[in-house]
C-alpha cells in the first residue's frame, strides 16, 4: 500500500497551488534556519546550564586571581617579616632559650618588635600580624603558652590606621598607642591556635618553603574567624625562634575582597578541602553591595551535569563550582575555592533561559507563519485567483496584479483569435460544402447543357442545311430590293447590333442573349429593334434569310 502511494505520489504532478505553498514553506524554513544559525553564532541560543557554568567559571577565575594576589602578598610579606624579626632577635638576645621566664628581656624584645610589626600590618593585605616566640614569660615548663605579639586592625572593614594589641604586653602596646584588644591576653595559648604547634615543629629552612596556613580558626575570645599564614623564624644557627605571619579574618576578607561580578546573588568561599562545604570553616565574601545568604551548616556536594556542583543543605541549596587552591607553598593539603549561587536563582535562570529560547522559537515560528500568511494572502492567493480568473476567461474583472494584465489581455486576444479562426474555419467548411454541391450541380448542368449543345448543334446543322436549302430556294423567292436594303442597312449596323443580329440568327432569344452577355433584356431589345429598322426587315426569319444569303455570298457559295 505505501509503495503504491509512493509511486502515486511520484507520478502525481503537484498542482501549482501546492508547489507555491511548498516553495513558500521551504523559504520560511530556510529563513528560520538562517536566523537560528545566526542566533547560535551570535551566542544568543546557548545552553542555559553552559551559560551558568561559563559565568561561574569566569567568576572563579576572578576569585582565584584575587586569592593568588592576596596570599602571594602575605607570603612575601611574611618572609620579609620573618627575616626582619629574626634579625631583631639575633640583635637583642645572646641565648634565645634564656628568654624563658625573663619578663624584662621579652618585654625589651617586644618593645623592639612592635613598631615594625605595626608597619607590616598597615602595609600587608591582612587583618593582623603576629610574632609567636618559642619562649614564655613563665618559667614553668608546664605552662603551654608562648610570648609574642599579635596586632590587629582596629576596624577591619574601615581603612583606619587604628591597631589593637590582641596578644602581647599591654603596657608596651599602650606606649605605642596600640591599645589592648577587648579580648586581650598576654600570651599565646597554643591550644587555641590550631596548627601553630605543628608549624613550629615542622619549621625548616628555607623559610620561603615553610610558609603554611592554618585551617580557619576562631580567634580566642571572639567570634572572629581567620586563616593565619605562618612563616618560621630561624636563626643562623638553625634555632627556631618561633613563627610569625599574618592573619586574614572574615571581616577584613569581606570588606576588602568583595568580588566584581554581574551575578546578583553570589558567594565566594575559601575553605578547607572537605567532602562537603561548611562556610563556618571558610572565609566568605560576596560581590560589592550584594549578599547571598549561605547557612552555617555542612552543605553536601553533588555533581551536576555540565561540570557544576550542587551544594545541598537542609533548607537551602546552591549551585556552583569548586577548585583546589594552594594558599601557601608549604601547605600539605590545598584549600578549596568555591563560587556558588542559590539553587533557586540557578533554577530560575534555567527556566528563564528556556522560556526565552521557547519564546524566541515561538516568535520565529509565529513570524514565519505570519510571513507565510501575509505572502499567501498578499501574493499567492491573488495570483491563484488571477489565474483562476484567467482560466475562467473573466477578462472583464479587474486584476490584482497589473503585471498579469498584459498576460491576461494577450491570452484573451489569443483566445478570441482562436475563436474567430474556429468560426471562420466552420464557415469555410460550410462554404466548401456549398461550393462542392454547386460544382456538382454545375457539372450536372454542364452535362445537360453539353447534351443540349450537342442537340442544338445537330439541330443547328440540320437547320443550316435547311437554311441553305431554304436560302437557295428563298433567294429565288426573295425580292432583290429587300435584299439590297438589307445589305445597305447591315453596313450601317453597330457592332453590338451585329452581335444581337448574329445571336438572333442563331436562334437565341433576346432574353437569352441578355443573360449570356449580362446585359439588360430591354437594351438587347432596343438593339434588335434598331437593327430591324436599319435592315428594313420585320422578322427573325427575314433576318436569318438575308444573313445566310449574305454570308453565302461572302463565302462564295452562291
Amino acid at each position: 500500500m505505501p509503495e503504491f502511494l509512493l509511486s502515486k505520489l511520484k507520478r502525481a504532478k503537484p498542482s501549482m497551488r501546492r508547489r507555491l505553498f511548498l516553495y513558500m514553506g521551504a523559504l520560511a524554513a530556510l529563513l528560520l534556519s538562517a536566523l537560528f544559525a545566526a542566533l547560535l553564532l551570535l551566542g544568543q541560543l546557548k545552553s542555559p546550564r553552559e551559560e551558568v557554568k561559563k559565568a561561574l567559571t569566569f567568576q572563579m577565575g576572578a576569585f582565584r586571581s584575587d586569592m593568588v594576589s592576596l596570599w602571594r602578598n602575605v607570603s612575601v610579606m611574611g618572609v620579609h617579616l620573618s627575616e626582619d624579626m629574626t634579625a631583631l632577635i639575633d640583635a637583642q638576645t645572646t641565648e634565645f632559650s634564656a628568654l624563658n621566664g625573663d619578663v624584662a628581656a621579652v618585654g625589651a624584645l617586644q618593645e623592639a618588635m612592635l613598631e615594625p610589626l605595626c608597619q607590616y600590618v598597615r602595609q600587608a593585605d591582612c587583618s593582623g600580624a603576629f610574632i609567636l616566640l618559642g619562649a614564655s614569660l613563665s618559667s614553668d615548663p608546664a605552662v603551654d603558652s608562648h610570648a609574642g605579639l599579635y596586632v590587629q586592625r582596629g576596624n577591619a572593614e574601615h581603612t583606619t590606621g587604628d591597631l589593637l594589641l590582641y596578644r602581647g604586653m599591654a603596657d608596651i602596646g599602650r606606649r605605642h598607642k596600640v591599645m589592648p584588644h577587648r579580648k586581650w591576653a598576654q600570651e599565646f595559648d597554643l591550644s587555641s591556635f590550631p596548627g601553630f604547634a605543628e608549624h613550629l615543629e615542622k619549621a625548616s629552612s628555607p623559610i620561603e618553603h615553610s610558609c603554611r596556613t592554618t585551617e580557619l580558626i576562631t580567634l580566642p575570645g571572639t567570634t572572629e574567624q581567620a586563616i593565619l599564614l605562618t612563616v618560621p623564624m630561624i636563626g643562623a644557627d638553625g634555632t627556631v625562634y618561633g613563627l610569625c605571619g599574618f592573619s586574614v579574618n572574615q571581616t577584613y576578607f569581606l570588606a576588602h575582597h568583595a568580588q566584581p561580578t554581574g551575578i546578583g546573588s553570589l558567594a565566594c568561599v575559601l575553605s578547607d578541602a572537605a567532602e562537603g562545604l561548611d562556610v563556618q570553616k571558610g572565609l566568605l565574601t560576596y560581590p560589592a553591595g550584594s549578599f547571598c545568604f549561605v547557612p552555617d551548616e555542612l552543605l553536601e556536594k553533588r555533581s551536576l551535569r555540565g561540570g557544576l556542583t550542587a551544594f545541598v543543605g537542609s533548607e537551602l541549596s546552591f549551585v556552583g563550582i569548586s577548585e583546589p587552591f594552594t594558599v601557601a607553598v608549604g601547605d600539605e593539603a590545598p584549600h578549596d575555592l568555591t563560587v556558588l549561587i542559590p539553587k533557586s536563582d540557578h533554577d530560575r535562570t534555567l527556566l528563564k533561559s528556556r522560556l526565552e529560547a521557547g519564546a524566541l522559537l515561538l516568535l520565529l515560528v509565529s513570524f514565519a507563519a505570519v510571513c507565510c500568511l501575509f505572502y499567501t494572502r498578499r501574493y499567492l492567493r491573488p495570483i491563484l485567483r488571477d489565474i483562476e480568473r484567467l482560466k475562467d476567461e473573466s477578462g472583464g474583472a479587474q486584476m490584482t496584479f497589473d503585471e498579469l494584465q498584459p498576460v491576461s489581455a494577450k491570452l484573451q486576444f489569443h483566445e478570441q483569435t482562436i475563436t474567430d479562426l474556429e468560426t471562420e474555419k466552420q464557415a469555410a467548411h460550410e462554404r466548401a460544402d456549398h461550393f462542392r454541391f454547386r460544382a456538382e450541380q454545375l457539372q450536372s448542368e454542364n452535362s445537360d447543357l453539353q447534351e443540349q449543345v450537342e442537340g442544338a448543334q445537330e439541330r443547328l446543322s440540320a437547320s443550316q442545311e435547311e437554311v441553305n436549302r431554304l436560302a437557295y430556294l428563298r433567294k429565288k423567292e426573295l425580292d432583290p430590293a429587300v435584299y439590297e436594303n438589307f445589305l445597305r442597312g447591315y453596313a450601317m449596323l453597330t457592332d453590338t447590333e451585329r452581335e444581337v443580329c448574329d445571336a438572333l440568327s442563331k436562334g437565341l432569344s433576346t432574353r437569352e442573349f441578355a443573360e449570356q452577355t449580362e446585359r439588360k433584356p430591354s437594351t438587347v431589345e432596343t438593339h434588335r429593334k434598331n437593327s430591324y429598322r436599319k435592315l428594313s426587315i420585320h422578322s427573325v426569319k427575314e433576318l436569318q434569310l438575308c444573313l445566310t444569303l449574305m454570308r453565302m455570298e461572302q463565302d462564295g457559295q452562291m
Binding site: 572593614e157 584588644h181 577587648r182 586581650w184 575570645g221 545568604f293
Partner: protein
C-alpha cells in the same frame, strides 16, 4: 452543573481577592532584598547580634525575602563618624548601610529626612509595648521616631572580684562603701595608697560628674551651644571631686575601654556601660604574667548620699537609611522580629543590656540562660535591678557636636593624668592640679 460551578467560582475569586488585599507587601520570597547592617554589639569580640542575623536570614528572612548582611561592627562612639563618612561617599569608604545602630545625635546629623520614620512602619499599638522613655530617646523634635530601641544600657561599676577581695582584706573597704560617690573616691584613694595603682578607670567621666551634680541639685547646666555652664557652682564642685581623685591618680579616664585595664590588672574596677560585660575575660593577667580569676562583681553606679539617685539611660538603637519603600518594609520586618519579647530578652541577657519592652525586665529575675560566667551576669542584672528600683533614668545629652567636645575633653584628661599624679606626689597642691583639669574643661566650647 453550571449553577453549582458559578458560586464556587465566585467564592474562589472572592477568597483570592481578599487574600491579596490582606497581604499587601513589597517583599518577595523569590527576589530577596538585602540590607547591609552596621552595629556596635560585640565589637572586636563578636556578639549574639551576628548570630541573630544568621537566624533571621535562615528563618523569617528566608520566608519573607529579606537578607541582612552585617558589613560593619564598631563602637557606639565611632559609628557616627563612619556613618558620616559613608554618607559623604568617596573611594576607600564603605557604602552607606541600609540599617545601622547609632545615637540619636548621630541620626540627627545624618538628616531626619534621610532616615526612615519608624512610626510609619509600626502601629501605635505595637509601639505601646515599648518603654516610653526608650522610645522618646530615639525621637526627633518633630516626633519622628528615628531610632528604634533594641536595647538600653546604663553605667555601673565592674570590679575585679579577686583583686577587690585582697584589697578589702587589706584596707577594710567593702562593696557597700562604693554605693556613694564619697565612698567611691575614698576607696579609690585607699586603693592607690595600698597598691600604687588607680582604683578605677572611667569610660564616661563627664556623665558621672553631671549625674552627681544633678543629684546635688545643680539644676540645668547645659548651655545653648550644647556644652556646660561653667558658672554652675554645683557642677564645678562635682567636677572638682572627680578631678582631685584624677590628679592624685586614684582614678583614670580609661585609655580606650575600662574593661581592658581591669583585665590587665592596671585598675581594680571600671565604670562603664553595662554592655562591657561581654568583653571581660575570665582572668586578670598582670604584667609579670601572673593570673587570677576575674570573679567579676558588678555594682550600681555610685550616687550622692542623701539625694535621689540618677542613672544614665544610654544605648544606641536601630536606624534605617531611607532608600526604597521595600527596604523600609524589610528593615521593619527585621526590627519587629529582633524586638519580639522573648528574643529581645535573650539578646539583652547575653549582651548586658536592658530589655526594651515594658515589663520585660522583671522576667530577667527568672532568666537562667546567662552566658558564662553566669555569676557575673547575675551580678550585673542584680545591680541593674537595684538601679531600676532606686534610680531615676536620665537621657543622655543630644546636642549637635556634643560628643566631639567630650572626646576632646577625654583626650586632654588622658594627657593630664600622665603627669598630674607625679606632680601631686611631688607635693603640688591637689586643688591647683584639679583646677588645671577644670581649666581644660572650661577651654572647650
Amino acid at each position: 452543573m453550571k449553577k453549582r460551578m458559578l458560586p464556587l467560582l465566585l467564592l474562589s475569586v472572592l477568597i483570592l481577592a481578599l487574600s491579596g488585599c490582606g497581604e499587601k507587601t513589597l517583599l518577595h520570597k523569590k527576589e530577596p532584598v538585602s540590607l547591609s547592617f552596621w552595629h556596635v554589639y560585640g565589637e572586636q569580640a563578636g556578639s549574639p547580634m551576628d548570630l541573630l542575623v544568621q537566624e533571621f536570614n535562615r528563618t523569617v528572612g528566608q520566608e519573607r525575602g529579606v537578607q541582612v548582611q552585617v558589613t560593619g561592627t564598631s563602637s557606639a562612639s565611632k559609628i557616627g563618624g563612619y556613618l558620616k563618612e559613608a554618607q559623604s561617599g568617596g573611594q576607600e569608604v564603605q557604602e552607606m548601610p541600609d540599617l545601622f545602630t547609632c545615637h540619636i545625635v548621630d541620626a540627627l546629623e545624618l538628616g531626619e529626612d534621610n532616615l526612615v520614620d519608624w512610626n510609619s512602619q509600626f502601629t501605635s499599638d505595637e509601639l505601646s509595648d515599648f518603654v516610653p522613655g526608650f522610645l522618646s530617646d530615639g525621637m526627633a523634635e518633630d516626633g519622628r521616631l528615628l531610632i528604634f530601641p533594641v536595647s538600653k544600657s546604663t553605667q555601673l561599676l565592674m570590679c575585679n572580684g579577686s583583686g577587690f577581695a585582697r584589697f578589702s582584706a587589706a584596707a577594710g573597704v567593702r562593696y557597700d562603701d562604693l554605693a556613694t560617690w564619697e565612698g567611691f573616691y575614698d576607696a579609690a584613694g585607699k586603693f592607690y595608697d595600698w597598691s600604687g595603682k588607680p582604683f578605677c578607670a572611667l569610660d564616661y567621666p563627664i556623665r558621672a560628674v553631671e549625674l552627681c551634680a544633678m543629684e546635688r541639685g545643680s539644676g540645668d547646666f547645659y548651655t545653648e551651644n550644647g556644652w556646660y555652664d561653667t558658672d554652675n557652682a554645683v557642677f564645678k564642685e562635682s567636677w572638682m571631686q572627680f578631678a582631685r581623685s584624677l590628679a592624685q591618680g586614684h582614678v583614670v579616664v580609661s585609655d580606650l575601654y575600662s574593661n581592658t585595664q581591669v583585665m590587665t590588672g592596671d585598675v581594680l574596677c571600671g565604670l562603664g556601660s553595662s554592655a562591657a560585660i561581654l568583653y571581660y575575660n575570665d582572668t586578670v593577667t598582670y604584667p609579670d604574667n601572673t593570673q587570677e580569676p576575674m570573679n567579676l562583681h558588678v555594682l550600681p553606679m555610685p550616687k550622692t548620699a542623701g539625694a535621689d539617685a540618677l542613672m544614665t539611660q544610654a544605648g544606641v538603637g536601630l536606624c534605617a537609611y531611607k532608600t526604597t519603600a521595600q527596604k523600609a518594609e524589610a528593615a521593619a520586618l527585621f526590627v519587629r522580629w529582633l524586638t519580639e519579647a522573648e528574643r529581645n530578652l535573650d539578646f539583652v541577657a547575653q549582651t548586658g543590656y536592658m530589655p526594651v519592652r515594658s515589663g520585660a525586665f522583671d522576667a530577667i529575675a527568672e532568666y537562667d540562660n546567662f552566658p558564662t560566667p553566669a555569676a557575673a551576669y547575675e551580678s550585673l542584672y542584680a545591680a541593674l535591678q537595684t538601679m531600676r528600683e532606686d534610680y531615676v533614668p536620665v537621657s543622655e545629652p543630644r546636642f549637635e557636636g556634643y560628643y566631639g567636645r567630650v572626646s576632646v575633653l577625654y583626650d586632654g584628661l588622658r594627657r593630664l593624668q600622665q603627669e598630674l599624679p607625679a606632680r601631686a606626689a611631688a607635693g603640688e597642691d591637689i586643688d591647683a592640679l584639679a583646677e588645671e583639669t577644670w581649666a581644660l574643661f572650661c577651654s572647650i566650647r
